[in-house]
Amino acid sequence: MSNQDNPARKKFEPMLSPFVDGELTPEERQQVEQHLAANKESAMQVADFRAASGLMRLTFEQQADAEDWKDFSNEVLAKLTPDKPPLFERLKASLAEMFTYQRGAFVGAMVTAALLVTVGSMAFLLGSSQSTGYANEQLKLQTVKVDQGAHVAPVVMETETGDAIIWMVNDSGAEPDAAKNDEKKKNDEELDPDPDAPSKKAGDL
């Protein structure tokens, strides 16, 4: 029976395809459902549309499954030839990419880098403030002893931080002979006393 013989079918036929696709309004859908209940031909056509639709979908899915997709996206990317952006833009893009796709590793690397910079800076600062040689050791002043008769003079220096360093310098270069002469004279007097001089001990006796 053709559509001309059935005005109801003629009226609803254009709605059958949208009905299958769920593109009708609720009111239209209800009308079509009522029509399908009363018209076997239309109902069979809807069944055919659904069967062909499912068959096509499945067939193309299977054909896509049969393809090897492993390298497809890489092949596409290999064909892309974008204009080379400036260095700063490329760096920015790389960092953004890293932050997006490797956020954990990126943050970890940044923290590690920050720690390394901090430790390195501290080591540098400490290293630059320390002297080399014997002055590298920190000395604590206990006592200051000066030999009797030693000719000493303090030398006072100030550090950048305001601390004072006092060096006691034995100025031995100026009077060594005089000191030796005094000592020799003393020894001679003890070994060879003046014969003219009255003995203190004898006088006392």
Binding site: D21, E23, M44, D48, A51, M56, Q63, F72
Partner: protein, 205 residues
């Protein structure tokens, strides 16, 4: 949760090629399926799919974002397919349009035959390679523009609104073309199934 298309597009624009790889991997199978349905040739379909992705990338700056990324992608895919078909001269039905004002004889479609033969489980029948080939043959009988609508609807499950946007045609035209395309495919498949049944003496169910 998967990142939406628009966000990925924005990342691609800022130079993130990996975001584009994600987009390619998201749509590669369906773009290929549409191309295969249009062209029937696996190698050509793969080439067209790659070309579509490359073209989309190159013209990404022209993408306004007011429409879906995927409607834009499919529009480019369909246009490339039509170009390929025209270059090859294989589009025999190039200018043929179904006129919805012309009365068509639905009885030719042998209503209900497809639904009853395929039953509710099209998978069983879809496993048959000949049936897949017959679907391709059936699609060949459909004018290219109608074929594109049918494929986008069945493979991608596009709404009529998106189909209208993708192919830049009114929604009414979408409904009309889809209906006629389905009727044609249904007729060809029914003929095949009847022949198959006569040969084997049993149904496909």
């Amino acid at each position: 949760m998967a990142t939406d298309d628009l966000t990925l597009v924005q990342r691609v624009r800022s130079g993130d090629q990996r975001a584009y790889k994600t987009l390619v991997e998201r749509y590669q199978r369906k773009v290929y399926s549409v191309a295969l349905g249009m062209l029937k040739d696996r190698e050509e379909a793969r080439d067209v799919a790659q070309e579509a992705f490359v073209k989309v990338y190159r013209y990404l700056d022209h993408f306004k974002g007011d429409a879906s990324f995927y409607t834009w992608l499919y529009r480019i895919t369909v246009n490339i397919c039509i170009d390929v078909m025209r270059r090859k001269g294989s589009s025999k039905t190039e200018n043929v349009e179904f006129d919805e004002t012309v009365q068509h004889d639905v009885s030719e479609a042998n209503l209900g035959a497809l639904g009853s033969r395929l039953g509710t489980n099209p998978q069983k029948s879809a496993l048959r390679k000949e049936l897949a080939e017959k679907i391709q043959h059936a699609l060949e009988q459909v004018p290219e523009k109608h074929r594109a609508i049918l494929l986008l609807r069945e493979i991608e499950g596009m709404s009529y609104e998106d189909l209208a946007r993708t192919l830049d045609i009114p929604k009414g035209t979408v409904m009309s073309r889809l209906f006629h395309a389905r009727l044609k495919v249904q007729k060809v498949l029914n003929e095949y199934l009847e022949l198959d049944e006569a040969k084997s003496g049993v149904g496909t169910e």
